[in-house]
Symmetry: C2
Subunit: 413 residues, 2 copies
Amino acid sequence: MLNELGKRAKAASRMMARLSQNDKNKALLAVADALLANKEEILAANETDMQHAVENNMTEALQDRLRLTEARLEGIAEGVRQVVGLDDPIGEVLSMKERPNGLMIGQKRVPMGVIGIIYESRPNVTVDAFALTFKTSNAVILRGGSDCIHSNMALVAVIRKALRDAGAPEDAVLLIEDTKREVATAFMKLNNYVDLLIPRGGAGLIRSVVENATIPVIETGTGNCHIFVDKDADLEKAIPIIENAKLQRLGVCNACESLVIHKDIADKALPLIAELLKKNDCEIRGDENACAISDYVVPASEEDYGTEYLAKIISAKIVDSLDAAIEHINKYSTGHSESIITESYEDAQRFLNEVDSACVYVNASTRFTDGFEFGFGAEIGISTQKLHARGPMGLLALTSTKYIIYGNGQIRE
Amino acid sequence: MLNELGKRAKAASRMMARLSQNDKNKALLAVADALLANKEEILAANETDMQHAVENNMTEALQDRLRLTEARLEGIAEGVRQVVGLDDPIGEVLSMKERPNGLMIGQKRVPMGVIGIIYESRPNVTVDAFALTFKTSNAVILRGGSDCIHSNMALVAVIRKALRDAGAPEDAVLLIEDTKREVATAFMKLNNYVDLLIPRGGAGLIRSVVENATIPVIETGTGNCHIFVDKDADLEKAIPIIENAKLQRLGVCNACESLVIHKDIADKALPLIAELLKKNDCEIRGDENACAISDYVVPASEEDYGTEYLAKIISAKIVDSLDAAIEHINKYSTGHSESIITESYEDAQRFLNEVDSACVYVNASTRFTDGFEFGFGAEIGISTQKLHARGPMGLLALTSTKYIIYGNGQIRE
């Protein structure tokens, strides 16, 4: 079954290579229209998923992720229209140079081919992942969560019909309808047909993909993000940044989970931070020195420093020096986003150079790590690995390159 | 043992981030000098490997790969000096733009971190891989073949001492001295310490790495390269290009292994090709139509079309159209290098667009797929995957990027 899907996706990806930018944009607009024209059947399918969710005692937060409404569907269709407006990276020749023997060699931006996306129960990801992979002339095979299967089947059926009507290959989007775990594991090994696998979801899903996949993977997501309050920090910047990074949204990967504070400023900074967090019912788990400074701090275990809480808890570590701060961060970080609050030029530069994360900030909230905030106009995820794409991934992350070489009979000496 | 090596490599990679370009180049020149100053002990160690090779009845071709001589050692040292002269990609900020909220966001080119290289019995790879990874501020863990272990231990000891004397971290190069297979397999799963794994060697090695590694891998190497003789081919270009691509060097990945010939030119082209190959004792295995045109062609099996011979054998397929040629190539190719011989503008453009390989040529030999021929000044391998790097890989393939963000107190709305 998977091999069959793989073959169809590969064939569709060959056809995608022949579509012009106009062809693709027309098809995307047709999909946006079709999502709204077929809203009754999509919402009905989602209602089936929602009923099962209630029967299975799904938490209210997860139910909220799963739920589609007319307004949300309009937002999803609007998202597809926005993708139409983005610059199309496919076809650009990055540089073309003549070699001494007269060969003209250029590097051309091309589709990845077939992209696999494994994700959890968010129906918006279904449409979003389709729009971004289609815009970059890829075929996509989707494997969503079982909780969401009826919604996904309805959405994909509507998209496929709209593509067919628009003269585009409907197999550019395929859904794995069998949501058994072993099917997902087999999907991760479909090297003959799938060029790239992107997991989107919690830490468990991502770990499972990294461990099982033989297809190239882009690891996304988990963020144990740090803010370092340097000895020369301006606390009028530090406090609002900590408030924003920790508390604005708790369940996101770019939220701050760990504080590191220079000992020379801890006596002044920590009471202010404790006051802020106490006011917001956010627990602080700190080392001995932090506990000694503020009664509000409770003792941290070693494990706390490596935890992505996604909740009203934060860890705090007092350090002797910038070096110790960098070492602590590089040890416990997931390589997502870290920020230094400092007025010291040298400390800022050293932090940017030596902290080994996808996004390193001076005097700003880690919450800005996001494709839209970075100006990409889209986001397929945030890569925490170093290969191919690192940090927020826009359309470029879904492309590859090939060398094109124009000759006139050259042979190698 | 591997965890210990991993820790040391990671620590060295942090120290590498602080070396300036001058520091790195001085250390590389010291290594080049040290390789020559210690030639007796390196050649003596190689002699031990050579004796074992003879005892184990290693083929002459493999013995030749393994052998070091004074002249070869001089060539290896000269290779290190050439790396000093290459542009250093580390530290470049690819673009820095101001966002509406005043954040300055740029993408900086940074080292990958720790790179693992798994390779076979070529002692030159040991030095070469070190020089390229060191130039890009990475630490490298090498795992060479058991046949080469004494040579590798001697080379790595000399390099490490030279680094230490030059004030650079000696753990920037580490050798796995235990050449047991299960150690290599465990190495492929050292995700906590290794950022990227590059296999260099035959198809069996590469398959084993792709199947077993949980670390991100760049697949290199195997090349079932095609030349398509289009109906509008200029045979005065085609014949020398086929001669060069098939016969100049047999054992290389960019050699041509498969011919595809348009039916409208086959009657004219195939006898000339057969004459050329017969003169050079190169067998042709073709389909029925090819056999009907030339007595020299023997029948091909299905398997032949997918085989990288690395020997005096080539396959030949007659096709009805450009579409059929593209389909055949995309089906059997390993995605390395393919060339069309044609005077047709449209066919040339379609071939470049629709053939899904790392390097696609018009009217030139596939033998040009090489980092030096492409003007990179170096090559760590040729990637046949689409992620991160595709085609010949120079220094850039050994780097990653990070976003650096300068703020002045920004928080997200």
